[in-house]
């Protein structure tokens, strides 16, 4: 087979630089101002408040209204009547106090980096997916894939959550006040998960780093998930972390069980800590 010339390959969109990890260097331009700021991040003042009545608004209209208020510098926003709509409160990349006085549907508060969100109702599937930083506190219950692939921040559900909680978790802390469903912590890579109640089957299946604490019964451990040793540091951490959100475990943090990965992936285990950070 004839070798494809580099110029031709690039015309076709096949940039071999991407494969070598030099994408940023290749495509960064100092003349493009958006490269110097965090896109769609706003300077807001949390002493300035506003309310949105979302009763008759579409999810897109709600998100646009939140963005418009942030552009005006408003840093404390309350959304009334979100009516369990999907995809609300997403893509917020700055500090903001955001409150929902009702339930959210699927993918609520996904892709956020910085806001403190308080939800007085319930959330549907995939709440706070890919969250980078900030806090999301839910007073009610949550659906499945809660906190999928989060990389940072605190994600707190005071009630019960569905299956696959923290699937592909890459950092941050997930706190569940009640029980969690099957396959929680599936392929967990980093971060902490604190489950105050029971955990469903296959807990921590295929996890290769991170820590899971469970206050209740575990139906069944997944492959590669093994009990770890609780230390004084763990107990102190749990006590202080749960106190922040006013959550108590039925039997006390001293009785919680710790679970960690029993096996390291070969390539992952051979990396230095700073190298691990790069691949996650």
């Amino acid at each position: 087979m004839a070798e494809l010339k580099k110029e031709k390959a690039q015309e076709m969109g096949l940039h071999d630089e991407q494969l070598k990890g030099r994408t940023q260097q290749r495509f960064f331009s100092i003349d493009e101002s958006e490269n110097l700021t965090y896109f769609h991040s706003h300077e807001v003042d949390t002493s300035k408040s506003a309310k949105i009545d979302a009763q008759d608004m579409t999810p897109r209209e709600i998100n646009r209204e939140i963005r418009a208020l942030m552009e005006k510098g408003i840093g404390d926003i309350t959304v009334d009547n979100p009516m369990s709509r999907h995809g609300v409160g997403v893509g917020i990349l700055n500090r903001l106090n955001l409150k929902f006085t009702d339930s959210l549907g699927y993918f609520g508060c996904g892709l956020i980096d910085g806001p403190n969100v308080h939800i007085e109702g319930r959330v549907g599937w995939s709440c706070a997916e890919n969250m980078m930083a900030g806090t999301v506190v839910i007073e009610g219950n949550a659906g499945s894939t809660f906190g999928a692939a989060i990389r940072g921040g605190d994600l707190v559900c005071k009630g019960d959550v569905g299956a696959r909680t923290g699937i592909d978790q890459k950092g941050g802390t997930i706190i569940v006040g009640g029980r969690t469903g099957a396959f929680s912590g599936f392929m967990m890579q980093r971060g902490r998960m604190i489950i105050c109640g029971d955990a469903g089957m296959n807990l921590g299946d295929s996890m290769y780093d991170g820590t899971i604490y469970v206050g209740g019964e575990v139906e069944e451990l997944g492959v590669d998930c093994v009990p770890g040793e609780m230390t004084e540091l763990d107990i102190r951490y749990l006590s202080e972390k749960l106190a922040i959100y006013g959550i108590k475990t039925p039997k006390g943090v001293e009785k919680m069980q710790k679970y960690v990965s029993g096996k390291m992936l070969w390539n992952y285990a051979s990396l230095e800590p700073n190298e691990k950070k790069l691949i996650l």
Binding site: S84, S103, G143, G162, R164, F183
Partner: protein, 312 residues
């Protein structure tokens, strides 16, 4: 994807507009499946049987010159066969040319009646029951509700389905709910994919059960019917089904006075439940249940492998 919903009122008599409530929930789930919409709603039992059947698919009307004559022949043949078996036809209604509702008096073998009528080419019984009305057609909930006059249907409970066709055709035959032939007043709606459909279908067919479509969801209705024919109650049959069925699923079953829900062991398909002293409402998404209330409600997700049955 598909969306499913159900509602059951406790101690509410027959005064609740179930048709309107189901339409409200199913319309909110339209984005999960726009191909067809179906209802199994339970009204007043006046001692007679309600037979819902179709004599053609809606699409057939546009595809053949002689379909109208064929439909007339089929309806006449249905009437003749019902009378031959001793069924007394008390009332006839039809929402359109191909979909019919008969109220009959019949004390014989229901399976024999169903088999005899379905032996007519193009005829399929959608349901038989004392209080069950099974309605399904192409289009969203608003379209089907208007076509079949469901906006003012009073009853105690119902289940419904919005379908996104993935593994079988877009037609009434493949739409949900499925009647648990030949059991009076039992219907099923399902969201998911069953991976052991053909293996289990063949086994049930060898036992004498009939399948009217190639839709995997029908397996649940037939399996529940099979278990109940062996003496199982609804809850036991549903618990067994969680082991029997392979794949990802959440389904609802309704009987004359019960509403049941089952979820697979991986909890791969959604279900949200609202429960109060007066009513239980379930749906694939809370946004559907929320259409019934003007205030915040508390809801929860059932656990993996969980089966729940409510009585009205």
């Amino acid at each position: 994807m598909c969306g499913i919903a159900g509602i059951i009122h406790r101690n509410a008599g027959k005064e609740v507009n179930i048709g309107e409530q189901m339409t409200s929930m199913l319309q909110a789930l339209k984005h999960r499946g726009p191909d067809s919409t179906g209802y199994a709603v339970y009204g007043e039992d006046n001692g007679n049987q309600v037979v819902r059947f179709k004599v053609a698919e809606g699409a057939d009307l546009e595809g053949s010159f002689d379909i109208h004559a064929a439909i007339e022949e089929r309806v006449a043949l249905v009437n003749k066969r019902l009378e031959e078996l001793g069924a007394k036809i008390l009332n006839k209604e039809s929402a359109n040319e191909y979909s019919h509702r008969y109220e009959i008096q019949f004390s014989g073998d229901m399976k024999k009646l169903a088999d005899f009528v379905e032996d007519i080419e193009g005829v399929e019984i959608l349901s038989i029951g004392n209080s069950l009305e099974l309605i399904k057609d192409l289009g969203d909930a608003a379209v089907v509700s208007k076509q079949y006059g469901l906006d003012n249907f009073n009853g105690t409970h119902g289940i419904g389905h919005t379908r996104m066709a993935t593994e079988s055709d877009v037609d009434i035959r493949s739409a949900h709910p499925y009647w648990a032939y030949p059991f009076s007043d039992v219907a099923v709606v399902h969201n998911g994919q069953l991976t052991n459909y053909w293996t289990n279908r063949r086994a049930l067919e060898l036992k004498g059960h009939r399948f009217s479509s190639n839709c995997d969801s029908e397996l649940i209705a037939v399996y529940i019917a099979d278990k109940m024919s062996q003496g199982s109650d609804l809850e036991s049959a549903m618990k067994d089904s969680v082991e029997y069925l392979d794949g990802v699923f959440t389904y609802l079953v309704a009987t004359k006075d019960q509403l049941g829900m089952a979820k697979d062991v991986m909890a791969a398909k959604p279900m949200v439940v609202y429960e109060s002293d007066d009513m239980i409402a379930l749906a694939s998404e809370e946004v559907a249940i929320r259409t019934l209330f003007d205030h915040r409600i508390e809801t929860f997700d059932p656990y993996h492998g969980e089966v729940k049955v409510w009585q009205n």
